[in-house]
Symmetry: C2
Subunit: 353 residues, 2 copies
Amino acid sequence: MPEPTLDVTGWTCPAPLRETPRIVMGHGGGGALSAELVQQIFAPAFGGDILAQLGDSAALTLGGVRLAFSTDSYVVRPLFFPGGSIGDLAVNGTVNDLAMSGARAAYLSCGFILEEGIETSVLARVAEAMGAAARVARVEVATGDTKVVEAGHGDGIYLNTAGIGLIPADVDLRPQRVVPGDVVIVSGDIGVHGVAIMSVREGLEFGVEIESDCAALGGLVETMLAVTPDLHALRDPTRGGLAAALNEIAAASGTGIALQERAVPIPPTVSNACAILGLDPMYVANEGKLVAFVPRAHADAVLDAMQAHPLGAGAAVIGEVVEAHPGMVVAHTALGGTRVVDLPVGEQLPRIC
Amino acid sequence: MPEPTLDVTGWTCPAPLRETPRIVMGHGGGGALSAELVQQIFAPAFGGDILAQLGDSAALTLGGVRLAFSTDSYVVRPLFFPGGSIGDLAVNGTVNDLAMSGARAAYLSCGFILEEGIETSVLARVAEAMGAAARVARVEVATGDTKVVEAGHGDGIYLNTAGIGLIPADVDLRPQRVVPGDVVIVSGDIGVHGVAIMSVREGLEFGVEIESDCAALGGLVETMLAVTPDLHALRDPTRGGLAAALNEIAAASGTGIALQERAVPIPPTVSNACAILGLDPMYVANEGKLVAFVPRAHADAVLDAMQAHPLGAGAAVIGEVVEAHPGMVVAHTALGGTRVVDLPVGEQLPRIC
């Protein structure tokens, strides 16, 4: 794969954004505005080295044991969508964040914020979906909390999960370990979750129903680590899509990422829906996919193992890590050109998770 | 202390409640309705033995290490109140839940759900309060997440924290360990947090400003465990107040609790405010107090140690655990009578934490 020819002299990524006096939807979108909140407000207020790693989960040591610890809140609308529900998302999202550290999720907490007046049966359906997803992911919901806010506040159900899991001793997955020469592998079709949410929320019909790819990736990651514990980094491209995940890795590792745009697996249903809606699939959220940065020597074996796993059947090499254009993601287009794949500012479609 | 003379033949506690088709404010109040949600919806959906312990935090083993794991969401209104803020509550509340397992909190996660349009400076103040509280409690905020919901949804800031900490090898704090003969000790004045919130929310003036008792109790618990690791159970009487905490312990241990009502420390400001508002201080929330169930042989020494600690200066023996009236809390009143202190159905005042 040749180095990109784009001249990026003097380009900075991400462009510094003005401080905003009020919170906008984009602050929750997983893009540049979200990063700005962390860098300008949370990191200075909280201090600490672990938060500063800015991984999907924190890697820490407690009682001599290496743990991954992660949290996500879920505000998806609608609560139930093709292929899943807020309950599935809340389990799989946190399980996946732990898996991106190489940890098998062991225990989850769950915090419900309920709106007065919602039907108890709706809550029960969400809880049952959580329980079923937890059994599939082999994680135990160990502790929880419920708060209720007045009707008109809140929004039906908001849900938070936090999770902990053990990181194997020989595993060290961090963006900082990514180096030029690493092969970039995605585990399957991208853009499916965001399009599934959009189709049901906006009442759009695309001929076929598009189901969310929501799934727990702990088993796939175990399969990959069985090939070699020496993977460099993993990300699940959720909010902000594959573009945000790749940009975060590029920024944190100080490397460039060169993509072959044609190699990125995008199903026709997603590309058609995105064409109608004016969206770029690279920025659409996924909930059951990962992107892996693998040393070249292990790439073929890791790809084979992924493709043999049900959740990695569509895995594909989509690019490589390069020394050129550090901090930038550059795509080689089907027509032979190159384009910069920016960090999104916010999220094209809010409240997809 | 004599056994209570109240005839409780045929009494059941808590009285079974009708299934409610919709969520009401009381489902978040930490009383009987909250317990019903856990028993009827969450426990069956999630399964698992740890959740079934129904402690303030889950005690679990991971990688051979004993951990406490807990979560709480915070929806307090207003966000800032005399003596604290939602940020202080979110740190101290979870630190305290861990401390009730005997664990010193080590790491916290935090999940923000922000309403579009809130001022960034308000978020910054909350984050700074969290950071300051975390430094006092010697706990590190290790991982976080931010979601934004549209203006008119959400409610300014909702906040979730989860926490993990190590449980010392010789410590085993569980309601099930409480036995007749145990001495019941409270660490200081009760009812202060709830009255502080109420005074500012309702614009009431009681002559003197009442400040929340919001504080991290990890250090006090360490002081108590240094006297003897053989404490039987600890609870922080938050939502539902001292009454809910005592009823939970009585129900889980199958013992009775006999209180000396006059011995319960209630400051005049709280009793006056409660008299005006028609509230019972036993049901008003605390955020910096604990109630301890201590074997009689250690009670004096534990009480002395508590009183020597800044957060236990007002500690007092308030009653004992008895064989009579299992599952019930009975108070001996100042006038020589007895009354049953019921599990509250909901919370007298919603959204105090």
